[in-house]
Every structure is written in structure tokens, then in C-alpha cells.
């Protein structure tokens, strides 16, 4: 391991000031991904700024929004009564992620910032455009069973590994970022990026900014909501495919619907066309199947992940069916 300087601060202001001083500095909170990256030689920050003591752990209802501080732990959010009652989809997604031990230290902001789990990204002896732009993509023509089927680029077919982020994309969350001068807001669905020509960039956070909190508007998806994660083992495994499905049904008609997928793209993948199709229709298996079919427009396999072309629509149908069946 390469030596680094460890700094700790308990204020947002000084955290941002420390970050501004050194472009090779990184924030550390739970560290569940960053430490791995440092051990593997993928990331070598000269300074680690520990922000765990910055007071950003709030989980509260303010007006018609739920506010979640960037440093609230994954467990704290998943176990919070307000979240379980108002945003069950988020609680379910969080509990589907990682392991209990990891969730206890992983934070909301850190979860958003985690890097892909693509094996080529972690092995510095293999090509990876995300780790080393211009070196090539090892996964194309290689082991790509876990990889993306939507909006891939010739440079990178990695997926974003988070479960939490899939639910947040579905829930129309807003991310509040603090910069050296001012705060700004960005829609959660626009926070993460597609790989395009810049696979080294996972998201639109600027180098001098920090994630402060999430704002999630209240909704009526409190009953008919389900997060379905298909994976190789029942816990502590990344999604082959996951689906966040929320329905609001009145008089047999779907009045609101949210659908997003994980494990299929470089960012949480919101299924807008499927949502538009379902809105106003009856919650029938035929309509779910049609919505799943629509969701697959433009999907493309890379060999080992071709099965996702079938698993993804199947999982959408099953997630919607389970969501509908809840009462």
C-alpha cells in the first residue's frame, strides 16, 4: 500500500476546503469500496478526508419530501420507520445490497459513489478504459456475464453495482450537492453517467463538490412496491438483473408506476417507456408483459450476458406481479 495522509473533519465547510486544496484527496466515509480500490492499486489518493463526523446523518420528513443525509448508513435508512412506511422500495433495495456488516458502515453517499465491480477494472494487469483510458475494454470479448445490455459503448460495458441507486432512480430522488461556493441540485437519474467516450467518469459530481443529502418526494407507492434482485446466491452477490417496481392502483387502473433496473447499464436504468405504457392501464399480466417487452428496446448482449435479454423482461414481469399482489 502506498502511504497516504489521513485527515478528519467534522464540518462540511472544512471538508470542502480540504478537498479544494488537493486534487489527489478523496473523501472517505464507510470505505467499503475505496479501501478495496486502494489495496488493489486502482486508486491511490494522497489524502483521505474522513467525513464520518460531518453531521449529515438525518432522516426526516420535511413538507412533502423525505430528506436523507449523505452520511446516513445503509442500515440506518433501511431500518428507519419513516422509510419503511413511506419509501418501502428504498428499504427493500438497501436490504438486497451487500451484507449486513457492509450495510452497517456503508453510507448513502458512498453507495452512490461506488465503482463498478467489473473484474477488469480491479486487475491492474488487464485492460480497462475506466481505470486507464485508452487501454481497452477487457470485458468485451472476455468475461462479461455480469455486464451491461443497455446503452453500452465500445469503450466500456460495465454496470453500476448499487441496489439502492436503482430504487432512488425509480423514486425521482433529487441529489443535493455542495460546492465551494454554493449548493446545487441534480435529479438522481442524471447523477450517474453512461460510459460513452468517458468511461472513467461514473457520475456528474464535480471534483470540488460533495454529496450533502437526498430529497425524495412522497408518493403513493407505499403498498404495491417490490424490489426483485436476481443473483447467483441469496445474499452478498451483485445483481445479474434487479428491478424496482412501484405501482399505484385505483379502480383497477394503474395511476402511477415506477420501474428501474440494476445490473443492466452503466447507471441505474429507468424504464420510462414501460412506465408510460402502463400508466392508465389495468394491472394485468398481459400489460406487464407488454411493458417488459418495451423495456428491452435497444438491448444488446455481449455473449456471456445474452441471458439477460431473457432474464431482464422476465424479472420486470415478476417484480410487477409481486408488487401488484401486495396489499
Amino acid at each position: 500500500m502506498i502511504n497516504f495522509q489521513y485527515l478528519r473533519t467534522s464540518s462540511k465547510k472544512s471538508a470542502l476546503a480540504l478537498l479544494l486544496k488537493d486534487k489527489n484527496a478523496k473523501f472517505i466515509a464507510g470505505g467499503t469500496n475505496l479501501i478495496d480500490l486502494m489495496k488493489r492499486g486502482v486508486s491511490a489518493p494522497e489524502k483521505l478526508i474522513d467525513i464520518n463526523h460531518v453531521p449529515l446523518k438525518q432522516i426526516e420528513l420535511v413538507g412533502d419530501k423525505i430528506i436523507i443525509g449523505a452520511l446516513a448508513s445503509n442500515t440506518a435508512v433501511a431500518e428507519n420507520e419513516l422509510i419503511k412506511e413511506k419509501l418501502p422500495l428504498l428499504a427493500m433495495a438497501l436490504n438486497a445490497g451487500a451484507s449486513a456488516q457492509l450495510r452497517n458502515v456503508a453510507t448513502v453517499g458512498g453507495n452512490m459513489m461506488q465503482r463498478t465491480r467489473c473484474g477488469y477494472f480491479y486487475d491492474t494487469e488487464m485492460p480497462c478504459n475506466k481505470r486507464k483510458p485508452g487501454s481497452g475494454c477487457g470485458a468485451i470479448g472476455g468475461f462479461n456475464r455480469m455486464h451491461a445490455i443497455f446503452a453500452t459503448s465500445d469503450n466500456c460495458i460495465a454496470v453500476h453495482p448499487s441496489d439502492m441507486c436503482v430504487a432512488l432512480a425509480a423514486l425521482d430522488a433529487v441529489v443535493v450537492l455542495a460546492g465551494p461556493k454554493a449548493e446545487r441540485k441534480i435529479l438522481f437519474k442524471d447523477f450517474h453517467r453512461l460510459a460513452g467516450d468517458t468511461p472513467q467518469l461514473d457520475n456528474n459530481l464535480k471534483a470540488d463538490e460533495m454529496i450533502i443529502r437526498l430529497e425524495i418526494p412522497l408518493n403513493n407507492l407505499t403498498v404495491n412496491a417490490h424490489y426483485l434482485k436476481v443473483r447467483d446466491r441469496a445474499s452478498y452477490a451483485f445483481a445479474l438483473v434487479s428491478v424496482a417496481a412501484g405501482l399505484e392502483i385505483s379502480n383497477h387502473k394503474i395511476t402511477d408506476v415506477r420501474l428501474a433496473m440494476g445490473g443492466v447499464a452503466h447507471k441505474p436504468w429507468r424504464l420510462t417507456a414501460s412506465e408510460n405504457f402502463l400508466r392508465g392501464k389495468e394491472a394485468t399480466i398481459e400489460n406487464f408483459e407488454q411493458a417488459a417487452k418495451l423495456a428491452m428496446t435497444g438491448a444488446k448482449g455481449f455473449g456471456e450476458n445474452d441471458f439477460k435479454l431473457q432474464m431482464a423482461p422476465n424479472t420486470i414481469i415478476e417484480a410487477l406481479t409481486i408488487a401488484k399482489s401486495k396489499a
Binding site: 473484474g119 432474464m311 424479472t315
Partner: protein
Amino acid sequence: MEKRVLKDENDRVDGIYKVTGKAKYFAEYELPGLTYGVLVTSTITKGKITSLDTKAAEKAPGVISVLSHLNKPSAPAYEQEGGPAMKIFYTDKVFYNGQPIAMVVANTFERATYAASLVKATYAKEDFNTDFEKAVSDAKAKKLQGQPDYKRGVEDAYKSAEVMIEAKYHLPIETHNPMELHGIIADWRPNNQVMVYAKTQGVKATQGTIANVFKIPIENIQVNSEFVGGGFGMALRTWSLEIATIMASKHVAKPVKLVITRMQMFTMVGNRPAAVQTIGLGANKDGKLTGITHSAFGETSVYENFTEGVVNMAKFMYQCDNVNTRYTVVPVDLGVPIWMRGPGEATGAFALESAIDEMAHALDMDPLEFRIKNDPEKDQQRNKPFSDKNIKEAYRIGSGKIGWSERKNKPGSLVNGQWKSGYGVSIGVFNANRGRASVKGILKADGTLVLQSATSDIGPGTGTGMTLIASKLLGIPNDKIKFELGDSSLPPAPSQGGSATLSTVGSAVNDVCVALKSTIAELAANSNMDATSNFIDVLKKNNLPSIEVTKQSQAGKEREDYSMYSFSIHFVKVKVHSLTGVVKVDKIVSVGDSGTIVSPKTARSQMVGGAVGGVGMALTEESIIDHRYGRYINNNFADYHVPVNADIPEIEVHFINKPDPYINPMGAKGMGEIALIGFSAAVANAVFNATGKRIRTLPITPDKILATS
């Protein structure tokens, strides 16, 4: 004093140590002046090291030395011709990606790790192949006979049978991945005295290897390995990396500790080799087997050959007059494999027990009935009676407990929404071994008994089993008995492998206890005491603080007269999701037929552990290599999926628990291997029963379920 909530005579004798952290594993020993070794590994798969730049590493903070083939310390056996080709520091050849090519020794682990990253090698690369399946199907690839061909009756008789099936089965590389990482602490002391704390399944084997490599007297070497955090076979040999660490200690004249990383566990300490197997079965319409052909290809390395008993089971497990087997090994440019729990038999049983299920289906017979119908009366391979075999009773117990009567012979019959349920069964079998071991017993006037043997306990509960044997024979409570192991200075015993420790060392414990008993009786008689007098009184009356007996014990002629095996029957109920392809194991019932159960708690744990390993083999475990680079891609615990608690359902374990009349004085046979052997086939058979999908390539991941029609 330790407080105990519940006391049970069958408790693990080391349980308290393990759960309180008092059990000390090799890496936890602190020697004065301890230094830390970290291996530098090759980044190419095949070729030659043309230069090695160690200057930056040598200048890095805390670095004591950088060892490589350029400054190799003396290891006489490594200088001779022959022997293994892959000798760390004694070769500039690269045989596999991730091969150790140098070692940095520094005063902290972190500094050694950093300095290791500064060592730069250049190579002359050669073409390579790490793809076993490609090598198998390549007519030009090198192939070696792994075992002599076996033939009984007519070759390939299945082809002309009334009903025949032929199918091909594929197993990927599996990696042992015990919790404890591999390594050693080596201390080369003045006058060629060597002290090591090792992770090993055999302290005597490790001691012998070190003596042989360095050509020093065996008495100069002390090997300690009291607690081992799992082995599953990977610690059954002394790898070149242990020898390299001893060389390093000799070179720097300080103790050196090497603990390899989880990633290195995939490349340099063996694996369960990949295999491709074809089974042909023939039967008449009444369901009697008329032909069995088992042909297997197993993975091996280019620099050292590895073979195992993949096709053994086909030769005797079913009544059949026409059986032939062939086992071929195919070298690839990877590290040499090693036995992994259940070794080759587990690989073979997946294919054979899947094929038996396929044949039962082809005959439209219940697979349990089909097995019973073809259960052999004697061992046709060796033409001998079985010493003890209760398979039909095991079938009866297991089928009742799993609820086999709920099973429908027609696949896909049990449907609940998107979930389809199914039941599967399979047999496991492994040679019931008994080797030679010595045990020393010291019976003391304070009422305690100390037993000593240089055996190991990699987890099964060796100390507990031995204590229970002695306690039963001498009537001494468990907590007054101490069984000492994992120390090469104790009386010799074989390595812990092949499910033989209880049978082998237990027999010597038995003999020691019998001898102690008769000595006490003799002393009692000579001092005019009642023959049933307590040994404490007898010793006191004779002014003896203690008496000692050492006995060597081994099998006799009975092994020529009988065929000795342990058996297991695994029953599995699964459910399979039609849309997502997810397989959930709903219930497991494993029945062990392995003679007397000496230690009920640890025996049950063995079976439970085997079932969990079997779920991993069946559903999740696979070491994946990118064959373009020859590098592992999922070499960590996040991506190499061993089962987690959430994958494991209720596991019921039952034992026949009848003594084998011939094997040894206890009538007890080993069970470490049978706990796993065959299990993966039970899962695959249950998946077929649930869905009608026959998956012949492990692991059975959701994508394979969806892809199979």
C-alpha cells in the same frame, strides 16, 4: 474458570478455544525479530523471466531483502535434477500467471507489500493455453493416461442395451477457499535448526519435506500446527512457497512470516481440477443395468502431473457385469491442482449419479427404486464382500425424512405460482481407509489422561473424537482427558486426508487405552487390589505419579478379505423459479452409513459442512479465468460465490450408526469425504425433477436454467 451454560459430554473439546479466540493459528505466533515476506508474482502466463529489477524495492523503507532466482539461497534438493519443476527461486521459467517469482522481506507486512509492487520483471513470452475444455477437444493437445483403463465384461456394452443413455458432464475449476489463508512462519536458527508454524494437514509430512529439500536431519525440524482454519485438501502438501519462506529465513537470519492473499489462494495452492466426463449407461427394460462406461478427462498442469479417483465409483457402486472406465489428464498452463474435499470421487459422482437419474427417467422408474434394484450384493471390482453396507436402510430413512412420497416421477408436476418443486437423490461413496499411527498415553495419578499423536485437526474435531474413544474405554470424564496434536515431535501419524484420521489414529488410541487398562489391572493384582479398582488408587498404592504407553496401530489381513467403504445418501428438495431461473434448496437430508458414530456432534457437523460445500459445488462455485490472459477474474470472496447462510435450508443428518465389524476396533469409518460426494448430483437431479431441465454443467446458475429448454 470458564463458565459454561450447557455441558454436554459430546461437546467439542476445543470449542471454547475457538469461540473465544484462544485457539492460536499459525499466523498468530509472535517470534522475536519476526519479519514479513510478500510474494511478487508473474504477470504473464508462460515464458521466461529475462530481467528482474529489484533496486527500487531494496531501497524501499523497511526492506531487509529481496529474494529471487538471481540470489537464491541454498536448498540442496532443488539443485538436483528431477523433482517438481516449479521451484520458487530455482527457476526462471513461468508456468502460470500469478506464479511466485520473488519475495520481499521487510520489517512490516505493509512495507513488504509496497516494496513487492516495486519489483519489475521483463519476460520472454510464450504461447499458452489455460482453457481446459479447449485442450480436451483439441486433437493435437497433449493428453496423458491418468489411471489404467478398467474393463469388466464387454466394453461399451451400454451401446447395445435395450435402453441406453449417453451424456456429457462438465465441472469447472473449484477453489478450496478455507477461511484461513495459507502460509507459514519459518525460523532458521543456528546449527541448522528449523522451527516452523505452518498451516498444514500433516506436521510429519511437512517436517519430512523440509528435511528432504534442505538435506538436514529430521530431528532438526520442529513443525507446529495446533489449529488449522480449514484445509479441504489444499494443505495436504508442502508447497514451494513454504520452502521459499524457509529459504528466506535462512537468508536473512530472522524468522519470516508469509501469509498469502485471498487472490493468491486461487493460483498457487491448488484447486479442484476441471473435468469433462462422458457416461454411457445401458439397462434392460426391467431396469437392470447391463453396461456402464465412464470416460473422464481431468485438468492437470504442464509442470507436474495430478490425478485422482474420478472414475472409481463406476467400478463397484452398481451391480453390473459390463463396466469399463478411462481416465485421461490434460495439462494446461495453470497451477497444479490438488485434492479438494471428496476429491475425484465427488467429480465422478456428479456425472455417474446424474446419469443414473437420467436412466431412471428413461425407464420411467423412480430413481430410488432404480438404485435399489441395482444395489450390489458384493464388490464386483475386487470380487470381495463389503465389510459393512446398509444402503437400503439409508434409503428408507432418508426418503421418509425428505418426504419422497410427495415426489412425482413426471418432471414439472409440483407447481406453486412461478415456483416449481422437485426432489433429488444421490449416493456418495469413499474408500474407508485405515493407515498406521502411533499414540502415546500418559495416565496420571491426579486422574487425568494425556494422549499424544502428531496428527492434525483441520476442523472435523479430531481431538473430540479421540477423547470420546478414550473416555468410553477408560471411564475417564472428557474434561480429564487431553489429546495433543499438531506437533511434529509427538508420535508419528499420517496427514489428515482421505477421511482416515478417526479410523487410523482412533485405533491407536484404542490400543493405548486397552494397554493402559491391562497395566492397571496387572498393578492392581500385584498389589493385592481388586481388579476393578480405580486407576488413581492403583497408581497411588504403587507410588506411581503416572504410567506411559506408546502403541503403533495399523490394519491387518481384514483389508484383504473385505471391501471397505463409507456410504452416504443425499436427499434434496429444491424449488426453481420459472421466470428468473433462481434455484432455492428447500430441504436437505443426508444419511451417513459409516459404521459406529464415535462423536455425534462433530460427525453431524461434518455432514452439515459437506452439504453446504455440496450446495456450493452444485449452484454457485466456479473459478473463472480469462483465457486470453490466463488470469483469474473472480479471485475474491465477493465474486467467487461460496454459499451464504441465506442459501442454506434446514439440514437433517441421520446415521446408520452400526459398527463395521472388520475395519477397526471402534467399527468406525471416515465421513469427511462422503459428506460431499454425490451431493451436487442430488441437486441437479432435483432441478430436473422440478423443471424437466437437465443441467450437466456445474454450477447450476440462473442463466443456465433459463437457457435450457
